[in-house]
Amino acid sequence: MINGYRRIGALALAATLVAAACSSAGASPTPTPAPTATPTPAAMTDTPAASTASTSTASTPTPAATPQCVSGSITTSGSTALQPLIDAAGKQYVKECPGATITVNGGGSGTGLSQVAQGAVQIGESDVKAETKLPAADAAKLVDHVIAKQGWIMVTNKDVTGVTNLTTQKATDIWTGKITNWKDVGGPDMPIVLIFRPQSSGTRATFKSVVLHGATEATGGQTLTEDSNGAVTTAVTKTNGSTSVIGFAYYNDPSNKPLLNGLQLDGVDATLANMTAGTYKLSADGNLYTLGTPAPGSLTDAFLAYLMGPEVQGTIIPSLSYAPVVPVK
């Protein structure tokens, strides 16, 4: 008898596993709705991007749309801002080259740089240049591949009406705490709530150098710090009179855009076209780092080439609200 009960105990665990396994086995043969690596039409709200995309495609020498296929396995980690792009490109590459495996992790720019410098991953994604984070000796071992430009936009809560543009000077006054009420910049009589990204984030570093020219930001009182684009967006939509800076992809997201006011910087619209043209300043390179130059014929090399190719530069990048770059190297 007793033996029987012990078996029941073991079965309880086993049954859970088997049940899970069965359901999955049942799910796998069915034609799955393709894990869309293809660009989503929803993200194509930034219309000027289309023109940029076509110029970029034209300048790309590779005529063939199919990537050079190398089998093998690589892992990337790093910037969460670049993650959607690497995700989509990786999925598409693997779809066309079934022998390859590309594992994409987040973790943050610092994690990406640390891990690629240690050799723990093949590609490290970073919003900022390696030299600003790593010791010079480590940074020198890394090779930078700029695959896209990413842009950020200043946003406010919907209740901040009448403010559509901020000059660099006004923005600096706001973020350094000199201006604390929206009425001083043409808005309603309402205190300004600043929502920062962490000091270590690439977004904040870029904003601080491009817009604030290195000025020290306001602290304490009614300033918040939120972890990430998503958390910042949620905080802005839920907090009266708040303002922050988010990536284009998050602003253009259909679930966010109706809840936010996007601001011009120095009278320039935050669009991919303006960013590529160089008139919209709040942008930075999207860097992929490798430890040394990747060996020719390796999957890392092939994937980087694919990222520079027409499929990624022409289609995937603009669809995800990044701007393509003219192929480097």
Binding site: S109, G110, T111, P135, P198, S200, T219, G221, T234
Partner: protein
């Protein structure tokens, strides 16, 4: 008796089964399994301490930095004062304990002294479900319901005035719901089951004679609870509070989602604060291994580790002093 027999039996077997049997294999295996926990603690202490002291050893900051109020990692000479985070952790935890302790001890007293069986059989499973709700879910709930509720309901400064004296107390209102109070409220719910169940156990451990003796003297049930049971169960209740405190101070994700993470000293319960855990989650991924900034984060985790081990020692001290009843 049992022990004697158990000791005798293997010694007779040894003769029959030879030399190898002298090594009690099962005992070694189970001992290793149990002792693995000592190994884990030692490894934890070694690794976290080693990383945690790099800020002082490698980067040359004085250990006094831990108590400096200035956190400015981007300054020309970066400052890594941990006081804002330690203070934030302490005040958010204290707030949570203030809210949760009366509720939990009351609930424990209810379960132990007042509740009929049916009520106990409803409340106890409910508490177990409370324990099981993951912290991200608490954070998500706090972010989507509590934070907007606080900012919508209590906007505007809180001013308490008396007719003659004038303003006696004032506090800025919630400009945002992200605040010390939001963190304390979320934590208070999360630690409620811990404090309740440990307090409940210590109420149950009070001998029945004390209750009957007290009631026989003509006291009411409430008088018995207040004057007999709570004092008798006090070490257990203190243990419960310390355990709740440890859990609250170590909670990361739920807190980070609702407190606003402003790296300055806490000012008012309506204002954003920061904690050790939340700063670690904010900066860990964005800093690189080996830079002083990340070393400071490791120092924060060392502080957390030391606090938690200190709380275990504290619990032991409290229980050692428990009066024999």
């Amino acid at each position: 008796m049992a022990r004697l027999i158990a000791a005798d039996r293997p010694s007779t077997l040894k003769v029959e089964t030879g030399r190898l049997a002298r090594i009690d294999v099962p005992m070694i295996v189970v001992f290793m399994a149990a002792a693995s926990m000592i190994a884990i603690v030692v490894l934890l202490l070694l690794f976290i301490s080693w990383q945690g002291i790099q800020l002082f050893v490698k980067d040359g900051y004085s250990p006094g930095t831990i108590l400096s109020p200035t956190w400015d990692p981007l300054a020309n000479t970066p400052a890594f004062g941990l006081l804002p985070f330690i203070a934030g952790t302490l005040v958010v935890t204290a707030g949570a304990l203030l809210i949760s302790t009366p509720l939990s001890v009351g609930l424990a007293a209810f379960l132990s002294e007042v509740a009929p069986n049916w009520a106990r059989s409803v409340v106890q499973p409910a508490l177990e479900i409370f324990v099981g709700i993951p912290s991200v879910v608490w954070g998500w709930l706090g972010l989507t319901t509590l934070v907007p509720f606080l900012s919508d309901t209590f906007s505007g400064p809180l001013v308490v005035s008396l007719p003659v004296v004038g303003k006696v107390f004032s506090m800025p209102g919630f400009l945002t719901g992200f605040s010390w109070l939001a963190g304390s409220l979320v934590l208070s719910v999360m630690i409620l089951p811990t404090i309740t169940s440990v307090s409940y156990d210590s109420f149950r451990a009070v001998p029945q004679e004390l209750r009957t003796g007290s009631l026989a003297l003509g006291t009411t049930r409430w008088q018995t609870i207040r004057h007999i049971l709570i004092p008798a169960a006090l070490p257990g209740i203190l243990t419960a509070v310390v355990l709740g405190m440890t859990r609250a101070a170590g909670e990361a994700l739920a807190v980070q989602m609702v407190i606003g993470n402003s790296p300055t000293l806490p000012a008012a319960i309506t204002q954003p604060v920061t904690t050790l855990t939340s700063q670690i989650t904010l900066d860990m991924g964005n800093t690189v291994f080996g830079e002083p900034w990340q070393d400071a984060l490791w120092t924060m985790s060392l502080v957390l580790l030391v606090l938690s081990i200190a709380s275990v020692v504290l619990v032991r001290l409290i229980n050692k002093r428990r009066m024999p009843l």
